[in-house]
């Protein structure tokens, strides 16, 4: 057990560093579930109303693809679990994976692990402490979630099953994040790998849930669905978490013990001795620095697009059977299938804004590390510096969305539709571009005006997602909904194209960008 020496102290250190993140994550997820439950209490107070809502949902494959299979929707617990269970589990999985990477590979890359291991600290202790932290966070979130739901009078056994799902997802993907950290030698690559795993798990269960269910069993996010919270629970699928985590852990242990500090299992690559001719130019440099991220996001969203497009088939079958679900929840006035695609396009655009914000905030990474000082000491102006990254964020997000739309169309073609669907879905996705630009421009504005509050740029995405998911079910005033740029995009292909709001959004993005760049040109550049 020498390999684990010092784990306790390291855990205390990790808790000290991340106590705020941990508390906020746990409260955020538990709070979102509680709000959902309370809002349903207000929305459907009688069982008859719940039964009516349930009949619309249970037959809607599109909703099942994004929210999971419903159980016992005639109960508050069932409604809450359906609306927020999968997304909470996915959020927990992402947080768990990123937190694990932060405490393993990221520390190792920055050299803190070297310092720690020079003390009387075992080789496996940093990883063990990181995963214990993830487990603590997962358990805390589960306890708070279940506690909150039980406190407002929701079924105890079902709430425990829901909580077990969330904790299971957090711990399973936390270990997966640690595994990713063993394979590659940088935190950035490990984060990418872990996030891809979460996305793949979501897609696998989407396909499984809308099909014969086989693929759901391959997805750690799907295992929790199989607990059937609130609809006569079964507990044995927990065995899957209980056995998968130690297996992953064993792999992490094995890799950790046989590799050198700082190295990954996949070898680090060398680079060219000379730069390409385009590199010493602001835009060329921005493109080079963000190339890998752009390719990653594009491929990820292409695959997601194809997956969601393929699911469209089941929606269409429902539409033909004249289901009561038609027109419910999904926006737009067209057919159910078109409404489904409109909703998917919005969802994918919300995800793509992650790329846009990340790319627009990239200058901050230069500033925080001191590279900005070296860069701006050359003949590179500040506007050219940050503007290039913003341009890349905007151009890149247009590319990402175009490819996503093409993916949706291609997925639809798998269902026997013609190639005509491809431009239709691609157009619908491109219509979202101005809304994404607004978020990228907001990030640039913050970069110039409030460089200490850049988290607000990510907060804006979370707010847009929240408005999209829970806005319609909560009795939120219209002006709050209108704060999200995505609310103003015509719901193509279900609605007709209206360019006026798109021009407005583009204008707002341009104004925010100009203000941000002007402010950046005026303020002090932080030194490392």
């Amino acid at each position: 057990m020498n390999d684990l020496a010092g784990t306790g102290r390291l855990l205390a250190l990790a808790l000290r560093r991340d106590r705020v993140t941990v508390a906020l994550s746990a409260l955020g997820i538990a709070g979102m579930m509680l709000v959902t439950a309370l809002s349903y209490k207000g929305l459907y107070p009688t069982e008859a109303e719940r039964v009516r809502a349930a009949s619309a949902i249970t037959t809607n494959a599109a909703l099942i693809a994004v929210a999971g299979p419903p159980h016992a929707l005639d109960t508050f617990g069932g409604l809450t679990a359906w609306k927020s269970g999968l997304w909470s589990a996915m959020g927990m999985a992402l947080i768990g994976a990123l937190l694990a990477v932060r405490h393993t590979r990221s520390e190792e890359e920055k050299g803190q692990t070297e310092l720690l291991l020079s003390a009387a600290v075992g080789r496996l202790a940093p990883t063990a402490a990181g995963l214990l932290l993830v487990s603590l966070l997962s358990a805390l979130t589960a306890v708070l979630s279940a506690g909150g739901l039980i406190a407002v009078g929701i079924d105890t056994s079902g709430s425990l099953a829901l909580a077990a799902w969330i904790a299971g997802a957090g711990i399973a993907f936390g270990t997966a994040g640690a595994l990713a950290g063993q394979l590659v030698s940088t935190a950035r690559a490990a984060n990418g790998l872990a996030a891809t795993a979460v996305g793949a798990a979501f897609a696998l269960r989407a396909i499984g849930d809308t099909g014969d269910g086989t693929l759901t069993w391959l997805s750690p996010l799907g295992w929790g669905e199989e607990l059937r919270a609130y609809g006569d629970e079964r507990w044995w699928p927990l065995v899957l978490y209980v056995s998968a985590v130690p297996l992953t852990l064993a792999a992490v242990w094995m890799l950790q013990r046989r590799r050198d500090l700082g190295s990954g299992i996949l070898p680090a690559r060398r680079g060219p001795a000379r730069a390409a001719g385009s590199l010493p130019h602001p835009l060329g440099l921005a493109l080079r620095l963000q190339r890998a991220s752009l390719i990653g996001w594009t491929l990820g969203l292409l695959v997601s697009g194809i997956g969601f497009g393929a699911v469209g088939k089941s929606v269409e079958d429902l539409a033909q059977s004249g289901s009561a679900a038609q027109g419910i929840v999904l926006r737009g006035g067209g057919s159910l299938r078109d409404s489904f695609f409109a909703a998917m396009v919005t969802l994918l655009a919300l995800i793509a804004s992650g790329f846009a914000v990340q790319a627009a905030l990239r200058p901050h990474a230069d500033e925080a590390t001191g590279r900005a000082e070296t860069l701006l000491a050359t003949a590179l102006g500040r506007r050219a510096w940050a503007g290039s990254h913003l341009l890349l964020a905007m151009g890149g997000s247009a590319v990402v969305l175009l490819v996503t739309g093409i993916g949706l169309g291609l997925g639809d073609m798998l269902n026997g539709h013609g190639i005509g669907e491809v431009p239709r879905e691609a157009g619908a996705a491109l219509a979202q571009v101005p809304a994404v630009w607004v978020l990228a421009a907001l990030a640039t504005l913050l970069l110039g005006v409030a460089p200490r509050a850049l988290g607000l740029a990510w907060g804006a995405i979370v707010a847009c997602v929240a408005i999209w998911i829970i806005g319609p079910i909560l009795d939120v005033p219209g002006w709050v909904l209108d704060l999200s740029p995505f609310q103003h995009v015509p719901a193509l292909p279900a609605a007709d194209l209206d360019v006026v709001p798109l021009l407005w959004l583009t204008g707002i993005a341009a104004a925010l960008s100009a203000a941000g760049l002007a402010a950046l040109a005026r303020r002090d550049i932080a030194s490392s």
Binding site: R188, P280, R371, A377, L380, G381, I525
Partner: protein
């Protein structure tokens, strides 16, 4: 008055960060063609001054002229004429060292290919490694090569040799001498007295955001006071009376001696000691910290005396 001879002219520069005052009326003039040492302990304001010169920070008060221009307003145009090496170099983790040299050189307006190849050779840098894979010293080399391969009027170095091994430090010193021979201006910020002594024509000593002393290197000689601790076979008499001897402490038997001595008087003191049979001898050059303590104490003592008379 900013003449054509001054590459850098700073008067009364003030920079505050919140309540903390980083620069409290700093004056600095760097003559064109000079290698100018900028000496001071950590936190004295050296890097802040350089950042103001680079137009990265706004000045709260004072006048700053760089190559005849305003470093804030004319930042981009001025940066084509200078090259800068920070004290703590961070590289892009996914770009190779060679790429980074080309990027920085290209963004400055182009670098000399022959010189670039020669410098990569001289500093023994492997340019194909990725930024994340370099050690501190090698990161420093990347930034140094990128700067030195540019043919510009002014070179700003902020503790450029931190992390370099002695061989590379010597190589850097050779490079600076070549720059001086070519008539370039160099501002070398450092806390290593030996480095500044070896390279600089003139120095400014900064403490607590002000320049407390400065001048040509010869002017600085008075600062190079050596501390001597010795034991002799017989008491050498009153060494404290010799000109250039300071702070002498002598034991009761007169054989244990501790004193500091100006470089000009070193010879006389050594002779006096040698005549009385040296049993033990330690000599050490003044640490920078001692110099600064003196610069700190003297005005403080003067101020206290003035206050007592008032």
């Amino acid at each position: 008055m900013i003449g054509p001879m001054a590459a850098i002219e700073i008067e009364g520069l003030v920079k505050r960060f919140g309540h903390a005052t980083a620069l409290a009326g700093l004056d600095l003039t760097v003559r064109t063609g000079a290698v100018h040492g900028f000496l001071g302990p950590n936190g004295a304001g050296k890097s802040t001054t350089l950042r103001v010169l680079l137009g990265l920070l706004t000045a709260d008060a004072g006048r700053v002229a760089l190559l005849g221009g305003d470093p804030w307003r004319d930042a981009v145009a001025l940066h084509r004429r200078l090259a800068y090496v920070p004290g703590d170099v961070t590289l892009w983790p996914n770009l190779s060292g060679g790429e980074i040299i080309d990027v920085l050189g290209g963004l400055r307006g182009g670098l000399d290919e022959t010189r670039r190849a020669e410098l990569v050779e001289r500093f023994g840098l492997d340019p194909t490694k990725k930024g994340r894979a370099y050690s501190k010293g090698n990161r420093q080399k990347v930034a140094l090569i990128a700067a030195l391969a540019c043919d510009v009027e002014l070179y700003l170095f902020d503790e450029p040799t931190s992390g370099l091994d002695p061989l590379m430090e010597a190589e850097f010193q050779r490079c600076v001498r070549e720059l001086r021979a070519a008539g370039r201006t160099v501002l070398l910020s450092s806390h290593i007295l030996a480095e500044v002594e070896a390279l600089c024509d003139a120095v400014s000593i900064v403490r607590d955001g002000r320049v407390v002393d400065g001048g040509s290197l010869d002017d600085l000689r008075h600062l190079t006071r050596t501390t001597i601790v010795a034991r002799t076979a017989e008491a050498p008499g009153d060494l404290a009376a010799l000109p250039g001897v300071h702070d002498a402490q002598v034991s009761d038997d007169g054989k244990d001696i501790r004193l500091s001595v100006d470089a000009s008087a070193l010879d006389a003191v050594m002779k006096a000691l040698a005549d009385h049979g040296v049993r033990r001898l330690e000599s050490r050059p003044p640490t920078l910290e001692e110099l600064f303590l003196r610069h700190y104490d003297e005005p403080a003592a003067a101020a206290a005396a003035a206050a007592a008379h008032a």
